[in-house]
């Protein structure tokens, strides 16, 4: 029986290597300039309150002629620069490279003056005016809508209530059925008195949402990740990539109180899409009114939005043109992994091209 791998000398050698890497890691960080995420040039074409609508410029400087615009609707709970993180990890850049004309709504950072914004304000006011702004620029009647995560839920609501303005709908890692057995967030929200929470806190702090997301996998996300960080800091590029991700993870805006109350009660607690009880601004949201073509992309190892939570869309929409695209990865890998850049944008472009 040999214990050579676990003898004091071998273990001390491992600790010395770890200490060296840690020291080298501190060097990498010391030399690293401030991070500025977002690599694709863009123009602000509309703004209102905290919101900005951006139009991305292609590398060639020429916008695709005749291409129906794609409007990306991101979640409120994180910042949208995840979709344009780095040169070789930018879903937006990849979409532009496939000839698509891309817009994105940046919701901004709500403050106390946004306390009483509701989902109706976000979806039927802000989002609708952004859609109108894009349509007006293109002289078009309809656009392509691409909703991400909670933004996908918003896009489903929008498409159900304003189907005349949406030509094609793409949802990415979008929760539809919030009560699947493996949806921990929804389970944890069931016994929370969200009225008390919002009435007490006003806007819901980004730190609270962060802590909740991290406690989905606390030992991995707050423990092992930082021990593995010494390996990531080994070279300047991987160190920068790590720190960009870190910046994004902890850059969580506060949530406008009433919109948070609406979303938790209608979806997390009420499972509104599935139960048919979702109402926004007094209007019923019936996914049977989603009659335009739908592409539903989900991540097979998504711990935030389990696959079954997304796949439930199939049985709820009214369209006869429904396509699912599984991505072998996680909730974040779907935007930033090298694998996703090679598979997801081409699939989106091809699917849209067939329905132009």
């Amino acid at each position: 029986m040999s214990d050579s791998r676990f003898d004091p000398e071998t273990l001390s050698g491992e600790l010395r290597d770890f200490a060296r890497k840690l020291g080298a890691g501190f060097d990498s960080l010391k030399d690293m300039p401030p991070l500025a995420p977002g690599v694709t040039p863009r123009d602000a074409v509309y703004s209102e309150d905290k919101l900005t609508l951006y139009h991305y410029r292609s590398r060639s400087g020429k916008q695709p002629a005749g291409a129906a615009p794609v409007l990306i609707v991101y979640a409120l709970v994180n910042r949208p620069y995840m979709m344009d993180l780095e040169e070789n990890r930018s879903l937006i850049r990849s979409l532009l490279g496939k000839g698509l004309d891309v817009y994105l709504i940046d919701w901004g950072y709500p403050d106390r003056s946004d306390r009483f914004l509701t989902l109706d304000d976000y979806i039927n006011d802000y989002m609708d005016r952004c859609v109108d702004a894009v349509l007006s620029r293109h002289g078009a009647d309809r656009l392509n809508l691409l909703g991400v995560c909670q933004g996908g839920s918003f896009s489903l609501c929008y498409a159900a209530m304003h189907s005349d303005k949406v030509g094609n709908l793409i949802t990415m890692v979008t929760p539809v059925d919030f009560h699947t057995a493996d949806n921990l967030l929804s389970l944890w929200a069931r016994e929370v008195d969200v009225d008390l929470l919002v009435d007490t806190l006003g806007n819901v702090p980004g730190e609270l949402l962060n802590a909740t997301f991290l406690t989905l996998k606390p030992f991995q996300l707050m423990g092992r990740k930082y021990v593995d960080m010494v390996d990531a800091l080994a070279d300047a590029q991987s160190a920068r990539s790590f720190m960009l991700m870190e910046k994004w993870i902890f850059d969580s805006p506060d949530q406008a109180g009433e919109a948070f109350r609406d979303f938790v009660k209608i979806f997390f607690q009420g499972n509104g899409f599935v139960q048919g009880t979702a109402r926004i601004g007094g209007r019923a949201v019936d996914l049977k009114n989603v009659t335009m073509p739908v592409l539903n992309i989900y991540a097979t190892r998504d711990h935030l939005v389990p696959p079954d939570a997304s796949r439930a869309l199939r049985g709820l929409v009214g369209t006869g043109d429904y396509t699912e695209l599984p991505f072998d990865g996680g909730h974040i890998g779907i935007y930033v992994s090298g694998k996703s850049q090679k598979t997801v944008p081409p699939a989106i472009a091809e699917w849209l091209s067939a329905r132009a």
Binding site: M1, S2, D3, S4, R5, F6, P8, L11, S12, E14, L15, R16, F18, A19, R20, L22, G23, A24, G25, F26, D27, L29, K30, M32, L35, S113, L117, D125, A181, D182, L184, L187, W188, R190, E191, V192, D193, L196, L197, T200, L201, G202, P205, E207, A211, L214, K217, P218, F219, Q220, M222, G223, R224, Y226, V227, M229, V230, M243, E246, K247
Partner: protein, 342 residues
């Protein structure tokens, strides 16, 4: 000298230091380094650096204990460490820190702002707020007394919920230790054991995640989580009410007043948006109104007569109009009139 070489220099220096028995040179190195190299990094990196430092300290602590164990064989050293951890978890005074910052309890404490445990009655949250209300010019009233009593009750409720949550986290850690012990026995038996400290650490994280995932997906945890959040919010809401009382006495805006202002602002904004929508709809309708076709001009003998008749009629109309203008004092155009009719 780069930091990576600094580690080697440190170990050489460490060995020459007297009386370092039992101390962890790696943790000492890390602590010395972080204290002697403050603020040389981009400010936005500081939180990540803190987490890197904390988890590295925990890893180095684990590694040093295993490397300096005098027990024979990997099983002896590893299981000795696991036994010590299990003992720390059974002791209430050390349980919460048994995993060195690797516990959901830590994240909750960061959000909830638990702060230091009160060491005297004067330091309890209730006592501190009582002092605020006793300030000159504020003066404690019967209403304030009732609010403080309610606050005490809510604080006790939160303490109870927090205690239950802490017990849950500690039990999860204890079960993780047992799960790791079983896994190591199953996977390695009497063989060579884990390939490295990192392999052991990763196995421990995996076991912890497994046990945690099983325990937080239950109805019991759902209720425990709800009780914890709701108790903290109820307590905070009462604190907010007391702070509003104090602010009111100090002639400062209260939360209630500011919220009312924001509500009014939002209502006004909504009314403005509605008005804009109606205006756009009206503009669209006006744009749809067909133009009146110009009358055909006839040529020939009767044209002059018709023209004269028309002139008279126009003059009469003009006189009527003037009269109407004088009466109403308003200007109207024939186009607007016909649009209104439609």
């Amino acid at each position: 000298m780069t930091n990576s070489r600094w580690a080697d220099e440190w170990m050489r220096a460490w060995r020459s230091l007297p009386d370092t028995a039992g101390a962890n040179p790696w943790v000492a190195m890390l602590d010395h380094f972080t204290q002697s190299h403050p603020a040389t990094y981009e400010q936005s990196f500081s939180a990540a650096l803190d987490r890197l430092t904390e988890q590295s300290r925990a890893f180095l602590d684990l590694g040093h204990k295993l490397a300096s164990s005098e027990s024979g064989g990997w099983q002896a050293s590893v299981f000795e460490y696991l036994d010590e951890t299990a003992d720390r978890l059974r002791d209430p005074s050390t349980a919460a820190r048994a995993f060195g910052g690797l516990s959901p309890l830590d994240y909750w404490q960061q959000f909830a702002g638990r702060g230091e445990e009160p060491t005297s009655r004067q330091q309890t949250p209730v006592a501190q707020l009582e002092a605020l209300l006793r300030m000159p010019g504020v003066g404690i009233t019967r209403e304030h007394q009732e609010m403080l009593q309610e606050l005490s009750r809510l604080w006790l409720g939160y303490e109870q919920a927090y205690g239950e949550y802490a017990a849950f986290c500690i039990e999860t850690a204890r079960q993780s230790v047992d799960r790791l012990r079983e896994r190591l026995k199953t996977e390695f038996g009497d063989g060579d054991g884990p390939s490295s400290i990192r392999a052991l650490y990763n196995a421990w994280v995996a076991c912890s995640e497994e046990v945690y995932a099983e325990r937080v997906a239950t109805a019991d945890y759902m209720k425990l989580h709800g009780r914890l959040v709701n108790a903290l919010m109820a307590y905070r809401r009462q604190v907010g009410k007391i702070m509003d009382e104090w602010a009111n006495a100090a002639n400062l805006p209260t939360r209630e007043e500011v919220d009312a202002l924001h509500h009014k602002l939002k209502d006004a904004r909504q009314a403005l948006q509605e008005t804009r929508r109606e205006l756009r709809a009206l503009e669209a309708r006006v744009g749809e109104t067909p133009r009146r076709k110009p009358e055909k001009r006839s040529t020939g003998k009767n044209a002059t007569k018709k023209k004269a008749t028309k002139k008279k009629a126009t003059k009469k109309k003009g006189a009527k109009k003037k009269g109407a203008k004088k009466a109403s004092g308003k200007k109207t155009s024939s186009r607007r009139k016909s649009a209104r009719k439609k």
